[in-house]
């Protein structure tokens, strides 16, 4: 594989030097384009207190194309499906090379605090979120407790 672009090196360095609060992203030992990410559930959200593992991969033409991000920890969220795939515009068509790993992860954290059931990926979850939000939140808390807290 070709050497790492400077941008990735810079981003990685900065992530190490000035970590974003509540987010940790560590590149894999074997593949510098693959990051092990841990995002804490944001306060005042049903995911508070959870530690969510994600994987993030920078494709070859990064930053011209978006990083690939996926939740590894199971999460009850209308925009995240059972496989951990995330419905987030900046990861798709709204990607811009000006975005960075840190901004992407911040956006994902923000998505946790502001679920958007109108643009669902997990339909059942979104449905419940719309119909019975309190129940949905209860579910989310339950899932968070069950999957994201026992480490």
């Amino acid at each position: 594989m070709a050497a790492l672009p400077r941008r990735i090196i810079k981003e990685t360095q900065r992530l190490m030097q000035e970590p974003v609060p509540g987010i940790s992203a560590v590149p894999s030992d074997t593949n510098a384009r693959y990051f092990h990410v841990i995002v804490t559930g944001p306060e005042d959200s049903p995911f508070e207190g959870g530690l969510f593992k994600l994987e993030l991969f920078l494709p070859e033409d990064y930053p011209m194309s978006a990083p690939k991000v996926r939740f590894i920890t199971k999460i009850y969220h209308p925009n995240i499906d059972r496989l951990g795939r995330i419905c987030l515009d900046i990861l798709k068509d709204k990607w811009s090379p000006a975005l960075q790993i840190r901004t992407v992860l911040l956006s994902i954290q923000a998505l946790l605090s502001a679920p958007n059931p109108d643009d669902p990926l997990a339909n059942d979850v979104a449905e419940l979120w719309k119909v019975n939000e309190s129940e949905a939140i209860r579910n989310a808390k339950e899932w968070t407790r069950r999957y994201a807290m026992d480490n």
């Binding site: 400077r6 941008r7 810079k10 930053p63 011209m64 068509d93 811009s96 090379p97 000006a98």
Partner: protein, 1204 residues
């Protein structure tokens, strides 16, 4: 300051702005690579990463955006304030790296002598370092040779002394003996002389006394008588008588006494027994010293050979050999490092000389010629032979300098030569100022700026020393090689322009011949006509395809891709619907074919689609290009009726208009777009040949050779050779339709469609060639019976049937060399029995498996009877056709079940070759190419593996897109599967791909260090292996293949071995270990198994192909490093056809080589400067040639290139 910094940082590359360009939205980005990467070439727009505003790109590209001068001033200001070093790349222009083809700031790499980006350069340096350490090891290993020699020399010294001492003693001894003998003899002789003298002297003295006495007596007597014998005295008578008696006696005495005076001068003489002269000569040279005079330097030379022998460093060896041949081993003539000083840049390549021989000159060289280009100041005045091939100007200038050189040489010689090793000219690296500096830097810890020690202004240069370690030597050899390379290249490039214009002509010539043949045959082909109308329907589906591609032109915002797809799908289903109505038999294939084509066309295949339909002169004017998609079905149905009418009259010509009709709808807009997209990719190659000639289409389906339509002037810059030529497809379709008629009855359900297709193709070929129009009802058995008796025109056939007729059906189906090589085939029962004890368990397994089959079992016979018969029938038929049509026979020969497939692709050309040797010699023209760079379906990013699946599909491992793509035999995208990841069915930079007999895909998942198996639908079945060095573990598996029994062979690249598995993943065996000896491997890349069960491995870093038997015993190896015929540089892909001919992708030489089954070179094509003119597609060879594939059905070599 922090904020100031961030203001000066480009948000895309997170680096300091370089050449910031200002977008209309007031955001700035570096021009390269940031802005470049943002460009949407299709829509000629750039989307601001900051605000997502979309801007139209100026006519002259992104550099047309205004430069943000303010920002630039700030940058300069910042540099001044902070004192930071200016950007070293400032002012440079990005170029395409000649290795990875990425755009970057390139610099000349001394390793490969190309302009490459830093990454590649770093990689190359790493390679160099590794090589140095490797060679260092070799040297270390070889060093004991020197020590041995030293010991020998010491021993010899003492031996010599003893020897000389002994000889001297001997000489003394002889001398003593001789002297004694001489003295003795001399003494003896002298004594004799003395003795003799004494005796004689005594005698003479006696005589003298006596005589004196006598004389006195007689005198007195006489006196007395005179005085007294007168009358005076009285004598008595007696007295007188006595006196008288006395006197008488005296008289008598006097009378009688005689003295033999003799010659006392020569009384004694000295006579030599030998001629004294000779004797003296003999003595003078009484002995010689026989000194065996060994060559003074033999020690040194042996050392060279020793190195050669000791390990692979052919470079060294050839280097030395060359030197020895050219000018003997003379000091100073060929200074090490080619006369450069250590670490200095090499002299520029020869082309440069020619280009600006009097260019920028040397500031330092007072005495050196000003004729030299700038770089040459680093050359020392010793340089001679390297420049032999340089341009004229260089030569003349050199001759002028000759005398100067002589003088200088003396000066320099005393200083420099004293410092060099007296034998090899190697100096001690640590004595080199540059090296010292380097080491000093490291030691003192301060990473000083690399300071070029300025070339000394005077020739006298106090440098290096006697004992020099071979790394330097190696440098030298490297240098030599690269220089040769450069020279070659130079020669090639200088020829190129001449050749280029010639090529189009040749090509047209080449392509012409098939036409009449085809027309004739298709005219004579009744089947063809009879199914004409059906064909029309089917073919008509194609016209639909390109239209959806027009969609992207519409500015449909961000949804474009999906929209395309939808648009594309709709018409295609419609069209298939219409097909359905016209003939149910056709439906199946029709559907399959069109749908992929449609999707393809919209996305990655857009350009292809477009260019494919640009072509022959068409009679009807083209409708407006921007025909809305929804009209498609209408148009196509019109076309359908048109064409079917026409088809009744004239099957050949009628095809043309129709194909143009397909094209017309979207030529214009697509053309523009695709040219855009392409221009960038092939910018620097455009100068080559007139595009049109380059992009001919080859008949992909090989059955009927129609000269491909040339993409005339209208296609302008379109550079993709498009394999989708409409012509090529037609015969295919004919076949399908034609067969679909009788298929139902003939192959009810039992046979696969694929078999049917095969059958059809053969039939077509047959009927064409014989013009007898074999009935549809012909079947294989009939053919079998006929063909052996048919007079076969070629030797190949004779051989084949000569040995085959007596045997069973099975044996007949084998090729002649298969039969031949069966003796050596290890699994053969007879031999197998013999060495059974020695065989590995794996071999025994094989034996058991084969054992029940009997002697004649064919490796490929494991499949069903039908397929076996088919495989039988085909070659036979090909025999029939051989005389009449080469092209046809290509299709036929070959067993469809052999899963031989090789490998990965990067370059997209295909060449046709077929069984008989003559055909190999002829066929290697481009068939088609697939893909372009990208991640859409039909595009590739580093395709590394290619294989042929059932139905002649083409399976490509699209490595950096982490997926497998499947194309049909015309190169139309069928499907893809896989994505990035390490889970089931996910890949990480997969490499090799193979398709086994039952259509399963076997994939070497490289970075996941495992093999994955998928079913024919692309669903994950199983995976096996993990990273490691044990059995069944992998370290970057690359090439993969299967044999007729379904065993899986994997090139375990970093473990330098080949592993073999059963089809279920059970480890069976392994062979090869790291090294360069026979049977050892260094980075084996790809692998192929022949129908005779010989395993061919491309032993890449040893620059050879090794042939093993299935037990892993090495049978032979061929090739060595080099660029001559039969030599390789990092051979990658290897493939073998069912005749055993071996095709190798010689990646470092950018060519394909074909070898006889025994490894003898047959031919090569595609090399730079091969001068054969048939290949205009030079650019294809610039890419990493990785793989070759031979679809067994078609007998064509398809070597896919990938254009980056």
């Amino acid at each position: 300051m922090e904020q100031f910094e961030s203001l000066l940082t480009c948000c895309v590359c997170l680096d300091r702005y370089r050449n910031p360009k200002l977008l209309p939205c007031q955001h700035s980005f570096c021009m390269e690579p940031c802005m470049d990467g943002l460009v949407d070439y299709v829509r000629r727009q750039v989307k601001c990463p900051e605000c997502r505003a979309e801007h139209r790109i100026p006519y002259q590209g992104v550099q047309g955006f205004p430069t943000n001068v303010t920002l630039q001033r700030f940058l300069e200001l910042h540099v001044q304030i902070s004192g930071e070093l200016p950007d070293p790349t400032a002012g440079q222009v990005m170029e395409r790296c000649n290795v990875c083809s990425e755009k970057a700031y390139c610099a000349l790499c001394a390793h490969c002598d190309k302009k490459v980006c830093e990454d590649c350069k770093a990689a190359h340096m790493e390679v160099l370092r590794r090589e140095i350490s490797r060679i260092n090891n070799q040297v270390r290993r070889g060093l004991n040779r020197l020590q041995d020699i030293l010991l020998v020399v010491e021993r010899n010294t003492s031996n010599l002394q003893t020897n000389c001492g002994a000889v001297a003693g001997e000489v003394d001894e002889i001398h003593k003996r001789l002297a004694k003998a001489l003295k003795d003899r001399t003494d003896f002789l002298r004594n004799e002389v003395d003795r003799y003298l004494a005796t004689e002297l005594r005698n003479l003295t006696n005589l003298k006394d006596n005589l004196e006495l006598e004389l006195g007596n007689i005198q007195s007597n006489c006196d007395l008588a005179d005085k007294y014998m007168n009358d005076d005295v009285e004598w008595d008578d007696t007295e007188l008588v006595d006196t008288k008696e006395i006197f008488l006696k005296t008289v008598e005495f006097l009378r009688n006494f005689d003295y033999e005076a003799g010659d006392y001068n020569r009384r004694i003489r000295f006579i030599m027994t030998h001629d004294p002269n000779q004797l003296v000569m003999h003595v003078a040279s009484y002995g010689e010293l026989n000194i065996t005079q060994p060559n003074a330097y033999s020690g040194g030379m042996q050392q060279n050979q020793g190195l050669t022998r000791s390990k692979s460093d052919h470079r060294l060896a050839t280097q030395f050999r060359q030197q020895e041949e050219n000018k003997g081993w003379q000091e100073n003539e060929e200074p090490i490092l080619g006369g450069r000083k250590f670490g200095e840049r090499r002299p520029p390549p020869p082309e440069k000389h020619t280009r600006d021989p009097y260019g920028t000159t040397d500031d330092y060289s007072g005495y050196e010629s000003e004729h030299r280009p700038a770089r040459s100041r680093f050359r020392s005045r010793f340089v001679k032979s390297h420049l032999d091939n340089d341009s004229d100007s260089e030569q003349t200038s050199r001759s002028v300098k000759a005398e100067q050189k002589e003088k200088e040489k003396e000066k320099v010689a005393d200083t420099e030569d004293a410092t060099r090793g007296p034998l090899s000219g190697i100096f001690r690296l640590s004595d080199c100022p540059r090296v010292m500096q380097r080491i000093l830097d490291v030691d003192s810890g301060k990473k000083k700026e690399k300071k070029e020690p300025p070339p000394p202004p005077k020739p006298v240069q106090p440098t290096p020393q006697p004992r020099r370690p071979p790394p330097a030597q190696r440098q030298e050899s490297e240098d030599e090689i690269s220089r040769l390379k450069r020279q070659n290249k130079g020669a090639a490039s200088s020829q190129e322009p001449e050749r280029a214009p010639a090529r189009p002509v040749e090509e047209t010539v080449n392509r012409k011949p098939p036409t009449p043949a085809r027309e004739a045959s298709s005219d004579g082909d009744t089947d063809d006509e009879s199914v004409g109308s059906l064909q029309r329907n089917q073919r008509k589906t194609a016209p639909v395809v390109p239209k959806p591609a027009a969609a992207p032109r519409r500015p449909s915002a961000s949804e474009v891709p999906t929209a395309h797809r939808a648009a594309a799908r709709a018409p295609s289903t419609e069209s298939s619907g219409s097909t359905e109505s016209s003939g149910s038999a056709v439906k199946h294939t029709g559907n399959e074919r069109t749908t992929p084509a449609a999707t393809n066309g919209t996305t990655g295949g857009a350009q292809r689609v477009q260019s494919r339909f640009i072509g022959s002169q068409r009679p009807t004017p083209a409708p407006a290009p921007a025909e809305p998609a929804h009209e498609d079905s209408d148009t196509s149905s019109e076309e359908e009726t048109d064409s079917s009418e026409e088809s009744d009259e004239e099957p050949v010509t009628q095809r043309k208009p129709e194909s143009q009709a397909m094209a017309r709808s979207d030529i214009g807009p697509l053309l523009a777009r695709s040219t855009n997209a392409r221009n960038d990719a092939i910018e620097n190659k455009t100068k080559e040949t007139p595009t049109q000639s380059r992009y001919r289409t080859r008949q992909a389906s090989q059955t009927e050779e129609e000269p491909a339509p040339r993409y005339g002037s209208s296609s302008g810059g379109s550079s993709y050779s498009n394999r989708y030529g409409n012509k090529p497809r037609e015969p295919e379709r004919e076949l399908e339709t034609q067969s679909s008629i009788d298929d139902e009855s003939k192959y009810p359900t039992a046979r696969s469609r694929y078999l049917a297709l095969k059958e059809r193709r053969n039939r077509l070929a047959r009927s064409k060639s014989s013009h007898t129009g074999f009935g549809v009802a012909d079947d294989d058995d009939q053919d079998d019976a006929v063909s052996p008796t048919t007079a076969s025109p070629t030797a190949y056939l004779a051989a084949r049937y000569g040995s085959g007729t007596g045997g069973s059906e099975l044996s007949r189906s084998r090729s002649s060399h298969a039969l031949k090589s069966r003796e050596s085939s290890p699994e053969r029962p007879s031999t197998g029995e013999k060495d059974g004890a020695a065989l590995s368990s794996w071999a025994r397994y094989l034996k058991n498996k084969y054992g029940s089959r009997g002697k004649d079992r064919d490796p490929s016979s494991t499949s069903s009877t039908t397929s076996r018969r088919l495989s039988l029938g085909l070659p036979l038929r090909s025999a029939n056709e051989l005389a009449s049509s080469d092209d046809d026979s290509k299709n036929a020969a070959g067993s469809p079940i052999s899963p031989t497939a090789a490998t990965a692709a990067v370059a997209g050309f295909a060449a046709a070759g077929s069984s008989p040797r003559s055909q190999y010699m002829q066929k290697r023209r481009l068939q088609f190419s697939v893909g372009s760079r990208g991640s859409e379906p039909g595009c590739f990013t580093w395709p590394r593996g290619i294989a042929v699946g059932p139905d002649n599909t083409m399976v490509v491992a699209d490595s950096s897109n982490h997926r497998v793509q499947v194309f049909d035999s015309n190169g139309i995208f069928v499907k893809e599967f896989g994505q990035y990841g390490s889970g089931e069915g996910e890949f990480d930079c997969l490499a090799g791909v193979a398709v086994n007999r039952i259509g399963q895909y076997i994939i070497a998942d490289r970075y996941n260090h495992r093999i994955q198996v998928f079913d024919p639908q692309g669903r994950f079945l199983r995976a096996f292996g993990s990273q490691g060095t044990g059995d069944g573990k992998f370290n970057y598996p690359w090439g993969i293949t299967t044999d007729a029994l379904g065993f899986i062979y994997v090139c375990d690249k970093e473990n330098h071995r080949v592993q073999v598995f059963q089809s279920d993943g059970t480890f069976v065996g392994k062979f090869g270990s790291f090294g360069s000896k026979l049977g050892q491997l260094e980075h084996p890349h790809y692998i192929a198994v022949s129908s005779t069960n010989r395993v061919l491995v491309s032993d890449s870093n040893n620059h050879r192909i090794q042939v093993f038997d299935v037990n892993g015993r090495v049978l032979s190896s061929f090739g060595e490093e080099g660029s001559e015929d039969g030599q390789f540089k990092f051979p990658r892909g290897v493939a073998v056809d069912d005749q055993g001919y071996i095709v190798v992708a010689d990646s470092g030489n950018n060519r394909i080589q074909i070898f006889h089954p025994d490894g003898n070179f047959l031919r090569a094509f595609g090399s730079w400067g091969s001068g054969d003119g048939e290949f205009k597609e030079y650019k294809y060879f610039k890419m990493n040639l990785q793989q070759v594939v031979i679809p067994m059905f078609t007998q064509q070599y398809l070597i896919y290139a990938y254009i980056t």
